[in-house]
Amino acid sequence: MLRVPLIATAVIVVVLAGGWATSLVSAQRKLEPLGPTAPRGDYRVTLDFAPERFHQLRLQEAGRLVEVRGNTVFLRDVTPPALRAIAGEYWVGAVERWDGK
């Protein structure tokens, strides 16, 4: 009788779990070249497109947004959990260390 709602809920759960798992794998892949991360660090986040207001607001949640240059956003004081969250976003192309200059 309630087969359709159950199937729909199962599909939603699978899609959300898949998105979460993909985000974890993606974060791991992007952060691997950085090695161990400091408690607070400065990073350069590169997107495949010019960041819009949405992306700047999302990145501001992770750290102090210092500058946007082309497709790259420069962030200060990013904690490791926040860095993992940023790197997990599929629209983030690359995350690199930034010497703050």
Partner: protein, 276 residues
């Protein structure tokens, strides 16, 4: 699904064919509209800001997905919607049962509730913004407000129309108040609760768009608003299409099956489509 749709004397294969035919007819209507829209764009000769083509809307959809904007906005909207719906429904059912069972509570609260019911949520949102600021609190409160009244009134009607003979029979068998509520009043009120939930779910969906336009920086309602503000009309239309399709999905996957499992199963109403 087929079990729920099964009608006496109608073979399942025929039902499937009928379902496919209905879907084909519905799709043909949508495709015709899209074709007419696309063909009319060069004839009208306006810029995409005033009159975007369906192809512009598809391109905007792909762009919003690629940039990760649409998934986040969609999940934010759905989180708010279901949280508001659940909280509003819980309060509405509890309030309806309480008022339906207690005459003193009914007399005390009825004028106030009738007064509040007349004030639409659109009027409350600016006040909520002043009290709670922009963000999820204001949106959640607006949605709870929208869902609460239809659920409350329908629950109240359901509770009041519970068969008195059944209540008396249970009492004469020694049932206490909780047992009377569980075995007589709540089952009788269930069709009313489901009807209220369905009405409230529809109201909340409309309320969500307005609340997000006024009080949010994310969400599909905000996307609709932001699209026109930044002269990206195609994005606004993407937001509108997403809202429409989401409502269709919620209705088909949740509301209708739940309604079939309760109201129609007990023969209280017949789906208009089944009648056709």
């Amino acid at each position: 699904m087929s079990e729920a749709l099964a009608l006496p004397g109608v073979a399942p294969a025929r039902l499937t064919r009928r379902g496919v035919g209905r879907f084909a007819k519905g799709s043909a209507g949508v495709l015709l509209l899209l074709a007419a829209w696309q063909l009319s764009v060069p004839l009208v000769g306006l810029s995409p800001y005033f009159y975007p083509a369906p192809s512009d809307v598809v391109a905007a959809f792909v762009d919003l997905m690629r940039k990760g904007i649409l998934p986040v906005y969609f999940l934010d909207s759905m989180g708010r919607y279901f949280a508001g719906l659940a909280a509003g429904a819980l309060l509405g059912v509890a309030g309806g049962v309480l008022i339906g069972l207690n005459r003193t509570v009914a007399l005390t609260l009825s004028p106030l509730l009738r007064f509040l019911f007349a004030i639409v949520e659109v009027a409350w949102i600016p006040i909520f913004v002043v009290w709670f600021g922009y963000g999820w609190k204001t949106i959640l409160l607006a949605l709870v407000y929208v869902v609460f009244f239809p659920v409350l009134y329908n629950t109240l009607v359901g509770v009041r129309t519970a068969p008195q003979a059944l209540v008396n029979a249970l009492r004469s068998l020694g049932a206490n108040r909780v047992q009377v509520l569980r075995y007589a009043i709540l089952p009788a009120a269930l069709p009313g609760i489901i009807t209220g939930l369905r009405v409230g779910a529809g109201f909340a969906f409309r309320g969500l768009v307005f609340a997000e336009i006024v009080a949010a920086k994310t969400g599909i309602g905000y996307l609709i608003f932001e699209g026109t503000q930044t002269q990206q009309t195609a994005r606004t239309i993407v937001g509108m299409v997403v809202m429409g399709l989401t409502w269709l999905a919620i209705d088909q996957c949740y509301l209708r099956p739940i309604e079939r499992a309760t109201i129609q199963r007990w023969g209280l109403t017949v789906d208009a489509e089944q009648r056709a």
